[in-house]
Symmetry: C2
Subunit: 136 residues, 2 copies
Amino acid sequence: MSDALSAIERFSRYQSDDAQSVEPVHCPVRDVLDCIGDKWSILMIMTLATRPQRFGELRRAIRDISKRMLTQTLRDLERDGLITRHVFPTKPPSVEYCLSPLGRSLLDPMASLIDWADRRYSDIHAARVRFDGAPL
Amino acid sequence: MSDALSAIERFSRYQSDDAQSVEPVHCPVRDVLDCIGDKWSILMIMTLATRPQRFGELRRAIRDISKRMLTQTLRDLERDGLITRHVFPTKPPSVEYCLSPLGRSLLDPMASLIDWADRRYSDIHAARVRFDGAPL
DNA sequence: GGCCGGAGGTCTCTATGTGAGACCTACCCT
DNA sequence: AGGGTAGGTCTCACATAGAGACCTCCGGCC
């Protein structure tokens, strides 16, 4: 919890002094959330964590992603330097995606999130059932 | 990094054996990402981490959130048991939001993510500039 | 009494994000 | 010649997000 406290302090510092607000421009957290805060990015990184994979493999691994979103998510992650893309001149050409060192460095922080998800998702589920069943 | 490896292993186990796919139904990670993986939830939790805050305070803290999304994000987080909502019978009534124990337990994992964001967002920025400047 | 303002919302309309699925190119196999 | 495969792009339809008007309840001011 001491780690958490220092991180919160750091986060607070990004609040601009005049308005006490989290400005998108000056807040790395906002910046990073814009990168990996979309629907598929984290899932993609986790899936690529086990091994480099090709376009079709990724589609089969995350079955409810559409081709369009798969392409777009991969492009965005490549643009942000989290994954790399290799084209092999086979016929037809095959393309392999793999985590860059920067992408791999994200695994450790994400691991603790997954850990939390694992331990606490039943609590969340219970809270949800309770909330939905409560009278208004 | 060893933590990351075990989390990845655990994540892999949620891939269904027959199809090697990350089924939404059986994957807590998917579940949790659906809760806090939206545009504002993590920011909201971080903002509430410093202290309980009222509707108007939160709006001023996260200035580019709309009233509608603020209301909805708060409702969703309340539904999932991550925050609690207290109405004080002042005139006009004031409403205070604060993290629940479950919500506070999320701070530690989120802290490591913020840590990463802090250290690495310049790398991401650099990668992006490089990508955008590259010829096709 | 009538008007203004604040707190915490809801409602409506438009802009953006997401998904489904058709299509494309180049090649191989039969 | 027809069909299959890999990795996409394109178009259309729909779901979600944002902007901003509006609402209620009250208290204070003149």
